[in-house]
């Protein structure tokens, strides 16, 4: 299954199996709830494409110090994007997840799926009806980071 393997970003070795004996994924998925949430964000004109919202959800979960659980399952999960669609150019998502969460460094996209689901729940908490202020999220994250730095 070499075409599903990804090179280790540090050593360049190809990873055939994940740490738990599971592979990383080529297509990232989303639960029914996540898809609905992203559709609503687009309908409310907060995002242009669903993938923009998906990335934001991942980043939000990371920023809020959530840990990914690659074994967790979600209802109604369906393929949403190819991982190259999600993580274009500099593969920043893969790099960030692998470095922040070394335990899942071999399956960063599987981890990204779970982080996206968690991030969606966090963002929902910032919404008032259809209204969402991105700055509420950004400022909360920055405030938490500053508190960490000073402690």
């Amino acid at each position: 299954m070499s075409d599903s393997a990804a090179p280790d970003i540090h050593t360049g070795e190809e990873v055939v199996d994940g740490a738990e004996g599971r592979e990383d994924i080529l297509q990232v998925r989303g639960s029914a709830a996540l898809r609905t949430f992203l559709d609503d964000l687009r309908a409310a004109k907060h995002i242009i494409e669903l993938v923009d919202g998906y990335r934001l959800c991942i980043a939000t979960a990371c920023a809020f110090q959530r840990a990914p659980d690659t074994t967790r399952t979600y209802r109604g999960r369906q393929t949403m994007f190819a991982r190259d669609t999600l993580d274009t150019g500099d593969q920043a998502i893969r790099t960030a997840i692998a470095e922040i969460y070394p335990d899942v460094a071999r399956m960063p996209y599987r981890a990204a799926e779970d982080l996206a689901e968690q991030g969606a729940e966090i963002i929902k908490g910032f919404m008032v009806g259809d209204n969402l202020k991105f700055m509420d999220i950004v400022e909360r994250v920055e405030r938490a980071a500053q508190e960490d730095e000073t402690s």
Binding site: C62, A96, E99, K133, I137, A144, A145, E149
Partner: protein, 666 residues
């Protein structure tokens, strides 16, 4: 005409039924006192409304019917308003009643069409047809001259401005009103009648000479000229009638537009609010679009703090490793050196052979070093050091987008736009609420018609001028041909010639009589106004007043020259003098109802005017507040001339107005 009583029901600020007995007591003056905004003007308006179906607000703007109905009555779902006037004219008792009731189903009745209208008129107890109401009122007190009987301080301003500025339409309007009150139109009709008789004689002269060969040409020519004159007169009369119709229509449109001035302003506000909303929505859409574009990369900025934390942690670990690796290297070097010394059995410092105690010491040092090296080796992970370098390199590649401040600015703008949009919608809603039931297209149509009529009137007036010039021409030709025929010595022509001459003389006499009458009346006005003015003014150096052709009055100073610049108070005194003179000379006698006429006058002038008032008309009703008149001091000199005093009071801030008689002097 004397107003015996005024009965108001739900009129203006007066809730329920209120009766003012103005005619009892037999003295000319009735005083009604109240504070500002306490309902005095409403009493004047009630009389105006009963007579002419109009009431005036600020700046003489017509008020809408709905604004006249008492608010409390509307709240209690009893939007019914009426005014009944009982008047006495030449011994006849006349009762005029005008009433409106809001139509069923109209939630906020405001305009005339929102109400059902009812009038009734009775003379000495006998009811007339409602259709005769306006005719009877016009006979009692023509609307055209009512301004000289029902007036307030603002209407005084109107007179002063019209006459002083001398604008064509404005001056003509006041002049016509004044000439109407003096009865001049009737005198002018006499002259027209004589002219008609003369034309008839001229026609008979022409017919009498058509069979005479010698004079046939002149007769034919005369006939032709007369036919042309008749045509020109018909044309002119047609144009004049059209002008009158257009002016009437224009007045109607102007009145409607004035009544709907607020509507027009509201339409303007609505249009502006809608344009504002459109602009806000366009700006909001742009900002939302920009925000969505920025949202593509915002995830990087959201992630950035977490990455920064990780980077810091890893850098700290790297620094620790660096220190450990350096220490290990140092310890290993020391170990190597000691081992070399022991192997060579030589001290590397002094180069001498080692003795046993020295050897033992070196062995002990080496043992300690080895223990320390074992400890440091556990943490001096060179492989981890290399890995960290790689991780840090990767982390630094995940750069933030740096768009946070742009997103912040846009979201702040969107919040402001949201508020502005809310306010714009409120404005639109408020304007639409005010305009509900009003046909905006109708108002726009009136505007258009007004512009069209004004343009047409300019053309029509020019036509009249041209036709009059042609008439002068043709009349001269008629005169010349007539003169030829008058030279015919046959008996019929001579008889007609004598009739013609008589009528010419009569026409001339009539014209001179009318001119003299006009001059005399104007002089009478000047004399009466001067009399009154000298009684009212406190400046005893003034000689009097001088009148011009528009019935404007100027003050003549001691040196005989006109006073060019007049104070506001002087203007008011002059205007009151004219009004007093007109009331004395009028062919119609009516009550004078004055609403706060003393606003710009000092105490001495007020005292003079108050003393004069009982002689101004058969009935004078004064609506005053105690800021303009000290009712105890200023009214004392005329207290025997005061029939009754009323006071308008309010029990508390939310209670209704009451007007109650405080004094009756029978």
């Amino acid at each position: 005409m004397i107003i015996q009583s005024v009965e108001l029901v739900n009129f203006g600020p007066y809730y329920g039924r209120h009766v003012l007995e103005l005619g009892r007591g037999g003295h000319p003056v009735v005083v009604i006192e109240g504070l500002n905004m306490a309902g005095k003007t409403s009493i004047l308006n009630s009389i105006r409304w009963a007579l002419y179906r109009e009431a005036k607000g600020r700046d003489a703007r017509p008020m809408k019917t709905g604004d006249l109905v008492n608010a409390q009555a509307i709240v209690e779902d009893d939007a019914r308003m009426s005014v009944k006037l009982n008047v006495v004219v030449d011994g006849r008792e006349i009762t005029l009643l005008r009433q409106v009731t809001a139509r069923a189903g109209v939630a906020n009745p405001l305009n005339d069409e929102d109400f059902e209208w009812y009038v009734s008129v009775a003379v000495d107890g006998a009811y007339y047809e409602p259709s005769e109401y306006d005719l009877l009122v016009e006979d009692l007190l023509p609307r055209g001259i009512s301004r000289f009987f029902l007036f307030d301080g603002e209407l005084l301003n109107e007179y002063e401005a019209l006459v002083r500025e001398g604008g064509e339409a404005g001056a003509r309007g006041v002049r016509e009103s004044i000439e109407m009150i003096l009865g001049l139109p009737a005198a002018r009709r006499a002259r027209v009648d004589v002219q008609a008789l003369k034309e008839e004689v001229s026609k008979r002269l022409q017919r009498a000479n058509t069979k005479d060969k010698k004079y046939r040409a002149a007769a034919d020519q005369l006939a032709a000229h007369e036919a042309k004159r008749d045509q020109l007169e018909r044309d002119r009369d047609e144009v004049v009638a059209q002008i009158k119709a257009d002016e009437d229509a224009l007045r109607g449109f102007d009145a409607n537009l004035l009544r709907y001035q607020e509507t027009r302003e509201d339409v303007g506000r609505l249009k502006q609010a809608k344009e504002d909303l459109e602009r806000l929505e366009a700006t909001t859409s742009e900002k939302i679009e920009r925000r969505r574009e920025l949202a593509k990369d915002l995830w990087r900025d959201v992630l950035a703090p977490r990455l920064r934390q990780e980077t810091t942690r890893l850098e700290q670990e790297r620094d620790r490793l660096t220190a450990d690796i350096a220490r290990l290297s140092n310890l290993c070097a020391q170990q190597a050196k000691l081992q070399e010394d022991l192997t060579r059995d030589l001290c590397s410092q002094c180069g001498r052979g080692l003795e046993e105690p020295e050897r033992a010491r070196l062995r002990s040092e080496l043992k300690n070093l080895q223990t320390e090296i074992s400890e440091v080796e556990k943490t001096a992970d060179a492989e981890r050091f290399q890995t960290l370098a790689g991780i840090l390199r990767q982390l630094r590649r995940v750069a933030p987008a740096g768009i946070t401040s742009a997103v912040k600015d846009i979201e702040a703008d969107l919040a402001r736009l949201d508020l502005d949009t809310y306010k714009a919608n409120e404005h639109i809603e408020a304007a639409e609420r005010k305009l509900r039931g009003i046909k905006i297209e109708q108002v726009i149509e009136w505007d258009r018609e007004t512009a069209r009529l004004n343009e047409r009137l300019t053309g029509l007036r020019a036509s009249v001028k041209k036709l009059n010039e042609e008439l002068v021409d043709i009349n001269a030709k008629i005169g010349a041909e007539t003169k030829k025929l008058l030279d015919n010595e046959n008996p019929a022509s001579q008889r007609l010639a004598r009739e013609h001459d008589t009528l010419e003389v009569l026409e001339d006499l009539t014209a001179r009589a009318v001119a003299e009458m006009t001059d005399e009346l104007r002089a009478d006005v000047e004399r009466e106004a001067t009399d009154i003015f000298l009684e009212l003014t406190t400046d005893k150096t003034f000689q009097g007043l001088r009148i011009n052709e528009q019935y404007g009055l100027t003050i003549v100073q001691a040196n005989g020259e006109d006073l060019r610049v007049r104070s506001a108070g002087a203007e008011q005194v002059v205007a009151l003098s004219l009004l007093g003179a007109l009331n004395r000379l009028a062919t119609k006698r009516g009550p004078v109802i004055m609403d706060t006429p003393f606003g710009r006058l000092d105490q001495l002038h007020r005292a003079n005017i108050l003393q004069f008032l009982p002689r101004m008309a058969d009935q004078v009703v004064l609506l005053i507040h105690n800021g303009e008149v000290d009712t105890e001091r200023d009214l004392d000199p005329i207290k025997d001339q005061i029939s009754a005093r009323y006071e308008i009071t309010r029990d508390g801030p939310h209670s209704q107005l009451e007007v109650a008689r405080t004094e009756l002097n029978v």
